[in-house]
């Protein structure tokens, strides 16, 4: 486990933050799925256009971005104080605050709270934090069933699948696949169910309504938590969030510590930035806010679990900590040329796309997600789209450098990238060595397939595990020059 300034990262063996296969391997698999690529292209193109439309409506969009960035930076600079203030406010209003060092501890806390509430099942609002810590698996291991209630999360859960997009987790499934999943896995569903989206949504409504009306415990995440007032905020579209946040007796909210915002008025900034960047709407259909417990209205027991799980390690790196500013809008996914082609599964973490490429390796330690900082063309589209102006391209370059440095420090030898760059400079410093290297590289043409070399022999093999190498030309420039100038003119030096 790699640490930065000695701060612990998210532990392995629990939750969903780590790649099972390096990005290039996973991406190659995804790229072979033409259905996936068609779905992704349609989805990202549609959301991009909607977002651009509603962003251009606001004359002060850039000022809102600047304010959002500044609020987040100031929050991080004084994070401990804001969390203590939040805790005091929530407690004063009848809530209970729990602190979790990591995923395992958060899972234990939630499991214990569900048990104490006497429940064997819970309804869940879509929550990346609970996906991150693998809460559903942890609850299942203790005999507690978690029902995902967001339509896309339900599709993913019933299909025993993984989410592939922050906002629309089932983006990789088409309507026919969803119909098949529902008819196979949804208890009591009409076997004649069609694949019309409206019919599928209706089937989910019927199935989940029974659960909503009888559930005793709900588990949610949080989009924002206001330190000043102790108010929690969840934005959503379907009403499943309102159901979970309103009807059960007990509500358990799991929130990353970076979600706190200082002041009530800060909501005026983020409730403009988030929906327009996320779904491309002026406002999402439903936003719920609650403060502790309100007698006679909603859950009468409220627990807030504040989760670290590597976030303080991210905070320790001044060149990486801005990744904690993310408000999970997914605008960077939708503009990313790499994400549009590979989809979210290739990133291996619940945080895919450009933000995932900078956040996941920092949460786990770079060694555990080493290929992610390289899963980008550094085109800069994500930076332009980010509502809180996270400079993702700059951070990717920083993390690539950190990866090389940490490799040298921990393994006593440099990484493939560092070796390659050092070798290149040695070769290029001497004309004879350079000519010999070029002759050798032409032998690489024997390895080509479709104009690319996807696996070079050692010691260059490590370079091509993360990228394809272009096939060397038949003739080098130096050779061409010699054929054109067999008898160099007198005045040529």
């Amino acid at each position: 486990m790699t640490t930065f300034l000695g701060l612990p990262t998210a532990p392995p063996g629990v939750g969903h933050l780590r790649q099972e296969a390096p990005f290039p391997v996973a991406a190659r698999q995804a790229l072979g799925n033409s259905q996936l690529r068609a779905n992704l292209r349609k989805a990202t193109t549609t959301i991009r256009a909607k977002r651009a439309g509603v962003v251009s409506e606001l004359p002060d969009w850039e000022q809102l971005r600047a304010a959002g960035q500044a609020i987040k930076a100031r929050t991080m600079a004084d994070l401990g104080r804001y969390l203590e203030q939040l805790e005091a406010q929530v407690t004063a209003r009848g809530g209970t605050v729990h602190w979790a060092r990591d995923a395992a501890e958060a899972n234990q806390i939630v499991t214990r709270l569900v048990r104490e509430a006497g429940a064997r099942e819970v309804v869940k609002v879509k929550s990346l934090a609970t996906d991150e810590i693998g809460l559903n698996d942890a609850l299942a291991a203790e005999g507690i069933t978690a029902h995902e209630t967001d339509l896309a999360e339900l599709i993913v859960q019933l299909g025993r699948d993984r989410p592939s997009h922050i906002l629309v987790p089932a983006i990789h499934r088409n309507r026919a696949e969803i119909r098949d999943i529902f008819t196979r896995e949804m208890p009591g569903v009409d076997p004649g169910l069609t694949d019309e989206p409206a019919a599928l949504a209706e089937a989910a409504r019927r199935y989940l309504r029974r659960k909503f009306l009888t559930a005793a415990v709900a588990v949610s995440g949080a989009n924002f938590a206001v330190a000043e007032t102790g108010t929690l905020c969840v934005v959503e579209s379907e009403g499943n969030g309102r159901m979970c946040l309103t009807l059960p007796r007990t509500l358990i909210t799991v929130m990353g510590i970076e979600k706190v915002i200082p002041a009530w008025t800060d909501l005026g900034v983020f409730l403009q930035l988030l929906p327009r960047s996320s779904t491309g709407e002026r406002m999402n259909p439903y936003t719920s806010m609650w403060t502790g417990v309100t007698p006679g209205d909603g859950p009468q027991a409220f627990h807030l679990v504040l989760l670290d799980n590597g976030r303080t390690a991210v905070l320790a790196d001044p060149a990486g900590r801005d990744a904690l500013h993310c408000i999970r809008c997914s605008a960077c996914l939708n503009v990313c040329p790499v994400y549009e082609r590979t989809g979210g599964h290739a990133y291996g973490s619940v945080y895919p796309g450009p933000i995932g490429a900078v956040l996941s390796p920092q949460l786990t330690g770079i060694a555990d997600n080493a290929s992610l900082p390289f899963a980008s063309t550094l085109c800069g589209a994500c930076f332009d789209a980010c509502p809180v102006k996270i400079n993702i391209p700059e951070m990717l370059v920083h993390l690539r450098a950190r990866h090389v440095d940490e490799d040298i420090r921990e393994r006593g030898k440099p990484s493939a990238e560092a070796v390659t760059m050092a070798a290149a400079s040695w070769v290029m410093a001497d004309p004879a060595r350079y000519a010999a290297a070029q002759a050798a590289s032409r032998a690489g043409r024997l390895l080509r397939r479709r104009g690319r070399i996807s696996a070079l022999p050692p010691p260059l093999a490590a370079w091509t595990t993360a990228r394809d190498a272009p096939v060397p030309p038949r003739q080098t420039f130096r050779q061409w020059w010699r054929t054109q100038h067999r008898n160099p003119p007198e005045d040529t030096p």
């Binding site: 500044a70 629309v168 320790a316």
Partner: protein, 208 residues
């Protein structure tokens, strides 16, 4: 060391060696006061509500009762739940029950709910309920499939920050921000209106 102490100590350690040195006010160049008022403001709200598939009716204080009655009749809503303190006369043909801790299953048996609002935001087509008298607890505007909301002109603001400022007084109350009926785009990004929340939202906008 408790988890609380440890997480707070980690934060301190993370910031100690690499503090940010940030202070001073947050840049506030964004709009906090609207520049649309009067009839234009109500027109903007009506336009934005309709754009998100809410049904909008315009009324004056004199026609408010008949507009509400017409809305319920057009919908065919007979069993109506209302919050305490609604103070809007409903048609005698409707069976009106005032909420008194009705269970979710009981709420599910109603055709609709009639409430007031705390604030409405014209630019985004949003109405906000804060649980005050006339708005009720959150469950009553959630479980019935039809929500009729009566909004007064004095409750309408232009911008989101203006609504946030107005709601500061009652920030501790549970708030529900509603922009159109519930919707999903989770299947091939095709918008489907009406999932779990009320599938029809109707707004009666009352102005002199």
């Amino acid at each position: 060391m408790t988890a609380r102490e440890e997480v707070l100590a980690r934060i301190q350690a993370a910031l100690r060696s690499n503090g940010t040195g940030l202070d001073g006010p947050v840049p506030s160049g964004y709009r906090t006061r609207g520049d649309v008022s009067g009839l234009h403001l109500l027109d903007l709200l009506a336009d934005r509500l309709a754009d998100y598939r809410a049904v909008v009716r315009r009324a004056t204080p004199a026609t408010q009762v008949s507009e509400v009655a017409a809305a319920l009749a057009d919908r065919g809503a007979r069993r109506i739940v209302v919050p305490p303190g609604l103070e809007i006369e409903l048609p005698a043909s409707a069976e009106v029950i005032e909420d008194a801790c009705l269970s979710p299953a009981e709420l599910d048996s109603f055709d609709g709910v009639v409430t007031r609002a705390a604030v409405a935001i014209a630019e985004t087509g949003t109405i906000v309920l804060d649980g005050s008298p006339g708005q009720g607890r959150r469950a009553i505007s959630l479980v019935p499939d039809y929500h009729l909301c009566v909004v007064e002109a004095s409750q309408v603001v232009h911008l989101v920050p203006e609504a946030v400022a107005r709601l500061a007084r009652t920030a501790g109350r549970p708030l529900t921000w509603i922009s159109g009926p519930s919707a999903t785009s989770d299947i091939e990004l095709e918008r489907v209106e009406g999932v779990h929340g009320p599938r029809t939202l109707e707004v009666v906008l009352v102005a002199d």
